[in-house]
Amino acid sequence: MRSADVPAFTAFVHARSSALFRTALLLTGERHVADDLVQSTLEQVCRHWRKIRSADAPEAYARRILVNLANDRWRKLRGHKEVPLDDGVEDGFVDPYKGLVVRDALMRELQSLPIGMRTVLVLRYFEDLDDAEIGHLMNISAGSVRSQVARGLSKLRSTVDAQAVHSRSGGAA
């Protein structure tokens, strides 16, 4: 990187690294892994800064790198699936903060989804991208995006429904 490019790159890192980190956190579920992903993403952005700088949306380029790296990591770890443990919510427990429990369950279930499905959900419901943007970013069609979103939501719904059954049975006990 040329010295003249350093200020612009520095500004980019300061402006966008937090957003990249949050997306990485949702894709990986773990803080230290998210940090590694963002670090690697920013290194690649730095390496290709002259090309990225001239692109219309350097942020989109960086997000694409991040998603690709998350996919790579998932493929390497495939077969070693880790699902976060339930945080001590016992059967039959009536939780006055039911909404929080549901959100916690959603996040745990999100991490158990295949990486592609997880990525489309994060890009749609956290990054607020539309189907075409997600498809372009992930190199898949908008139709594939829609079907993955539908399947992902279906899996998450089953978790929420199970949570509701737990709550109801707990309340009756």
Binding site: T10, S17, T23, R47, N71, V102, R103, I140, V160
Partner: protein
Amino acid sequence: MKDHELEQELAAAMRDRSRQEPPYSYDVDGLIGSVRRRRRRLQAGAAAAVAIVALGAGFLSRPDHDRVSLPVQAPTASSVVLPPSPTASTSASASASASASASASASASTSTAASAPKPADPARTTNTLFLAALRYQNPATRSQVDPVEVAALFADESAYRRIWGADSTGVTCGSSVDGVLAAGEVLLYQGVERLDRAPAPTFDGSTGKVTDLTCRTVAGGSKVGDPTVSGFYGGLVTAAKSGDSTAMSRLGRQFVTANLRSAQGPTAGTCSSTTPPFWLADNPSSGTLTHGWTVNLGGPYDFPIEIDENAKVATACGK
């Protein structure tokens, strides 16, 4: 819970989760430093590879019986005023006499050279030179080639005129080609067929610019080159020229892993390019059982690929 409620709950859950962990503050100097260190290592490796090939071919010190002289080009190269290189004797007044546009380019290059006196990386120059030749030799991409930028790759104007010539085929040993594999030595392809003559550029040690280029005979045999790269990308280029729309899936089955085809669909291994005008693969890398290249199919960006132990493209475009 209704659909829209589930979607709202999911979005809220994601926002909650993302706020639970404060982001790190990333060290920009550290990032830049690590990238620069890596780049220096790669440049050192590439320069060593080029030097080894050059010394092996022997063209730096002695004539070689199997090397033929470069075809002499008619001195009809585009009239281009070379931007002065740091060691060139071209005077400032010479540049001043150039046309306005050429002077502007020359001035820009001069200021760049003044602020970055490091010699150009021979591997980078090789990449730029052969990409320019591939672009020039394809009528559809010829207009993308800037003669001033091409001329700046050479040590002086006479080298540019002698080697690039009128139509760039001096760079590719007198033939028009649509594929280049550069791994220290440079191999030329027409479709999936490798030419039996290969260019060997010589670089100025202090500037890294091209001073000469000879063409040598390449021995036959499938061990020279990379059959997967030339078979797949050469096949795609041939298919694009002939309008064969069925070739991509056939070549994909032959040269791309099922996993990658499943992940990337019908354009697997090409970074979504469907009708590449040419291909260039360089920057080789190797692992225990795999090896990789950086590929350009005529687009603005290069992309990495990795070839597995079954000689199939296993990753491309970072996937």
